[in-house]
Each structure stands twice: as C-alpha cells, then as structure tokens.
C-alpha cells in the first residue's frame, strides 16, 4: 500500500490562501474554470453560495470563469433566487433534450459537463450553511499548483493528531459504517481518503468526460473508484476545509443512500473482475414505518442507470470539437 500518498497529496485550505498565486498559475496555463452547483430545493443556502463565490472568486480574483446552477426541478424559490444573484441557471431536463430524462444529482453533474466550458470543473453541494470561498479555491489549489494532480476532493476534519488528542477522521455515518470497511476489503489505498462521500470536488474535464455517471446516489463512490482504477492514486488529492455545516439526514435516509452505494460498489468490483456475483442483486431497499401500531412497508427502488462517459455523446463531441465518431477509449491517455 502506498502510504506516502497521505503525506504528499493531503492539503489544508490555508496552503492555498494566496489567491493571486493561484490566479497567476491559472493564467500561465491558460486555463478556464467552471463552478457547478447542483440544486433541488436549496432556497435557504443557494444565494449565499453564489454571492460569496461571485464576490471573491470572480470579481476580486477572477479564478472562476462561470458559475452555473443545474436544477432538478425545485419547488421552492431556488431558481428565482439563483437568477436574481446572477448565476446562470439551467433546468436539468432542458439540457440535451434529445436524451431520455432522469432525475438525480449525478444526472446534473453529468449534464454540467455539456453546459460548462471550463478546463477545470468544481462541483459544490448547495446545502452548505457555512459556505466560504475556501470551499472552491482550496479545491483548485492542488490542481493549479501540482501538475500531477487531476482530481481533488474535500474533507472537513484533520486526520492527524492535534497535540496529544486524536481527532476522528470526520467521516459521516455511511462512510464509517459502509465505505471504509468496503475500501479496507477491496481497495486499502483508498482508505487514506478521509471523506470519500463529500460532495465537494474539482477536477480536469479531461478526466470527468471519460467517466460514466450514475444518475443518483453513488456518484461519488463510483467516480472515486473509476479515477483510482483508471488513472491511479497519485492523480487524486484531498484538501481539509476545516468545517462544513449542512443539513443532517435521518438514519433511515442514510440507509437508502447506503443501499444505493453498496449496489454501485458491487457493480464496480464485479466490472473490475474482483468478485464474481453468481446472482443478480435485488433493487429494492425495504424499510418499515410504524403508524398507529401498524408496520407499513417503505420501499426504495434503486435506479441503477448510469450515463455513459460524456465524451461518447455526439452533441458533446461536436461542442468540444472532438472527431465525430470516437469514444472515450480513443482519447484516454
């Protein structure tokens, strides 16, 4: 196992506080950068995220070339507020309208590849209550300053000891009870990634466009596994953002998430030839609610649909001037 990775590829946001240095590197490399914010009913938090990012990373230090919001059909004022504060807002359904429509965060992230123009794309969740522009610039730092790094993921607590006391790694319940045990079993090197499920990450388009995207839960896990198996651990970095405050999910909701992630994981390790599943997996997560002393079934049906690598989509190839008939395999280095 490569133990050096943790020391060499783990950063703290304060390492990248010199925004003029990041801007200089961006200009030297002639890069463009897009910030993508996927939304579904985030009227309480979306405005702050847009305002702070625009003020600090577009007006003061023009690190970002565009901020786009991709909405999955919010029923609150998310879209109205996002437009009011100057973000470019797209309804997910209206992007690539010729394709079958799906709902889910992964779908939005995948479609963002078509809508955005940047060489680097930053994805940030939009339920962050304590948003600060470090959430974006700290993810950009390793990508701009270290040539080897192509994908950077956030975590929120320091994994190392603080004085004599050890702080926990800060992973959530699903991370600690599901992902970390799975990684320990199949990909021990990936256990060095403190929060594999964090929704804040950035990377080069040249990587994202070659990944298939699950439309719903499990996008973060499958993305990490595919980058690790396709490009290796050294292209991945992680950055400590100190603290993230967001909505807390119920254990039951996390159960559904864990079910979907487990599905994706088994799908991936089967595809990589690491296990041989003799039977197909059931797609329904069965939970129960108690109502008036009766138990009611609560069934979550997992949609295993995945979008193919964006580079295989003809409209995308035309927009980004790829030859008409190629595939992801043609351009993978």
């Amino acid at each position: 196992m490569n133990h050096d990775w943790l020391a060499n590829n783990t950063f703290h946001h304060s390492d990248f506080v010199d925004l003029s240095q990041l801007l200089a590197r961006k200009r030297e490399q002639n890069l463009t950068i897009s910030l993508c914010l996927p939304t579904l009913n985030e009227e309480k938090t979306i405005a702050k995220e847009i305002v702070i990012m625009k003020s600090e990373l577009m007006t003061r230090y023009p690190l970002l070339d565009e901020i786009i919001v991709i909405d999955s059909g919010s029923e609150d004022k998310t879209v109205e507020v996002a437009k009011y504060y100057g973000a470019r807002v797209y309804y997910s359904d209206q992007i690539l309208p010729g394709l079958k429509r799906f709902r889910g965060k992964g779908e939005n992230l995948w479609k963002a590849l078509y809508i955005t123009e940047g060489d680097i794309i930053i994805y940030l969740d939009t339920d962050i209550k304590n948003i600060h522009h470090r959430f974006a610039y700290a993810l950009l730092g390793p990508l701009l300053l270290y040539e080897r790094i192509k994908f950077c993921k956030a975590f929120y607590d320091r994994p190392l000891s603080e004085g004599k006391a050890l702080r926990p790694t800060g992973g959530g319940r699903v991370t600690e009870l599901l992902i970390r045990p799975l990684f320990s079993l199949f990909f021990p090197e990936l256990t060095q990634i403190m929060q594999p499920l964090s929704g804040e990450y950035a990377g080069y388009r040249e990587i994202f466009e070659k990944l298939s995207f699950p439309i719903g839960y499990g996008i973060e896990t499958s993305m990490l596994l595919d980058i690790f198996t396709g490009w290796g651990l050294d292209v991945i970095a992680q950055v400590d953002l100190d603290r993230r405050v967001h909505r807390n999910q119920s254990t039951k909701a996390l159960g559904k998430m864990a079910f979907a992630i487990l599905h994706r994981f088994i799908n991936r390790v089967t595809k990589y030839g690491m296990i041989d599943a003799k039977t197909a997996l059931f797609k329904e997560m069965i939970q129960y609610n108690q109502l008036n002393n009766e138990y009611q079934l609560d069934i979550f049906e997992f949609d295993e649909t995945e979008r193919p690598p964006m580079i295989d989509i003809p409209e995308y190839r035309r927009k980004f001037d790829y030859p008409e008939n190629g595939t992801a395999g043609d351009v993978r280095e």
Binding site: K48, V51, I52, S55, E56, T59, K129
Partner: protein, 384 residues
Amino acid sequence: MDHFLEKIPGFLSVIEGCRDTMITNIVLIGEKAAPTFKEGERVKTFVNRLITSGVDECTFDSIQNPIGIIRGKGEKPPILLVAHLDTFVDQIEDFNYTIKKNMISGPGVSDNSVGVGTLASLPQLLRKLNLQFESDILLAGVIQSIGKGNLRGIRHLLKSWSDPVRGAVCIEGVELGRLNYFSEGMIRAEIDCISSLKGEFDRYNHPNAILVINEVINRMLEIRLPKKPRSKVVIGRVSGGVNHGKNAETANIGFEIRSDSDEIVKEIYRDVEDIIENFRHIYHVDLNIKTISNLNAAHLRFNHPLVKSSYRVIRALGLEPVVRSSESELSILLSHQIPAVTLGMTHSAKTDPESNVEIKPLFKGIAQLVGVLMAIDQGVCDEP
C-alpha cells in the same frame, strides 16, 4: 456644498454594483461570534476583509482595536469612521447567516454586522466611486463597546490617538435615516437581591427576592423626575426565582437613568442607592446596586455645519432624517470635542428586526455615509 450633493444620488448605481462584495463582508464578519470581551475572531476577520478590500494600511492600538487607514492626499487631520465589533449575542460558537432576495438574516446582523461590513467594504467602494479625500480615513472597528464593555474600545482608542481628529461618523446597522448628534447623560445599573439563609430565616421563611425587588421598583417609580432637563428612568430587564412553587431566593433588575443633565443623573442614582440601603435593612437581604456603564451628556448644536450637512445629504436621497439621542460611541467622541454624528445603514425587517435586515436600502445608507464623508472632507467640521 450643493455641487457634491447633486452627485450623491448618482453614487447609488455604483454602490449597487458592489452589492455582492458588501453582502459577503457583512456575512463573513457577522458569522464570527463576538460577545463583548471575546471579539478576537471577528477582529481577525474584519482585518482580513479590510486587507482584501485594498485598504492602504492596517494597525491596532494596545487593546487590539483594529484600524484600517485609507490614505488621503492632503495634510488635514484624519476623519474617523467607527463601528462597534461586539454583539449582544452571547453565543461563543460561530453562527450561519442566510441570504434571501432582499434580506440578510442571522444573529446580530442589525447590531452591528451591517455597520462593520460597511466599514470593511469602504476601501473598494471609494475606489469604484473614484473618490479620493484630503484627509486620511480611519476605519475603526472598536471592541468592548456594548453592555459591560462600557465603550472601553472607543475610550481607549481616543485616549491613545494623540493627534487631532477632524470629524467622525459612527456607523450603526439600523435604522436608515437616523441622525444622532447628541447623547443623554446615562447610568446603566443592575440591582441584585439575594435573600437565602440570612440570619435567623430558614429556607421557607426567607423574604421572597422578587417581592423585595418589586418594592424597590415601586419606590423607584415614586422618585420625582424633572421635565427640564428631560430625565427618565427606564427599567428594561427583570429576572428572578427558579420555579413556580419555591420562594424566589434571587432576583435582579437592569435599568438606566437618563437625562440631559449629568447632575440630575447622579442625583437620581443617589436616590436609588438610598432606596436600596433602606430595604436592605428592612428585609435583611443582600441587596446591592452596581453600575454597568455610564456616559456624560454631550451634543453638537443643532445648527452645527456637520448636522446641517448631514440633514441635506439624507434629504438628497429622498429620506427624512429622524433625530434622537444616541448613547454610544457618539457620546465619547462628542465629549472629546470631536464633531460627530451617528448614521444608520439600512432598515430592519418587520419580523424579528434584530436578526433580519433589508439589502436594497443599504445602497442609500452607504451613499449617505459617503456624502457625509465628503462634507467633512470639505471642511464642515473645521470651524472652531
């Protein structure tokens, strides 16, 4: 005078163009908890935002009041802009603000995150407005201001700032249109009553502290107050007891004595001390009064050029000035013979005014501040 008044409404579009930056400063500074005496994190963030905003210089006095300096082009004494950094919110953990279409919400946003955020935005705003001043502009975020802070921050700042100050503006988050140029004399005090286990009383027979405090209040209401100089006693806070079925062993009130005359304030305070002394003996309880803060009465005359100019600036923006006394940094500035006014930057929202402010009026609030700054720079405070 009039030629710059005409420019002020034209500032609005430029200021509105800096909306995101102003909101960002208010939010990032306001989210740092800053109860009085624990303003350290907010001080750091304020200084960081000043530097990001392109202030020419940053410094601290010996109690860590942070001061940004925008260099002027002339030799005139500096103009001081002040906003207090501490907040009435006791919470030590940072909080999270939210932004809606025309509103910023969060603990302490009106008092005084908007004021401090405005201060931090000024270097950039003045550059965008293409304004340069004869005087240096001092942007002081003062600590230890409210409550038990007793305005220590501004007192210390003025004590340690040996050079003359040309004029000053105190910046408060709300309400837009306020124009304060005088302060009443004031003593803020608390009376504590502890009645448990005194002398021969057991826990069932000791005097009820709430009833003792009630007696004190009744006697305070009997104190004769002159109509001229205007004087009043405000009982603003009361607490006591533990639960419904137990005689209260402790009770407390917080009050202020205010008057246009410092002498009257002292007289009334002495009367309250006599009441306390009397009931202490009657009820055999620990009954004590302690002063939290005090201010001397101070004022600019109503026809002082700074007051008249401030009126004109506020009216030039279509607002009607609202004149009241203000017991804040203003009092200390005026008592140091520094011509000063207090201005409000925006409106609080109707629901939960402490925690919600409107965004759009802020543009007028800042235009008004810039207008008054220009008036001071043109000499309205320079006459003896």
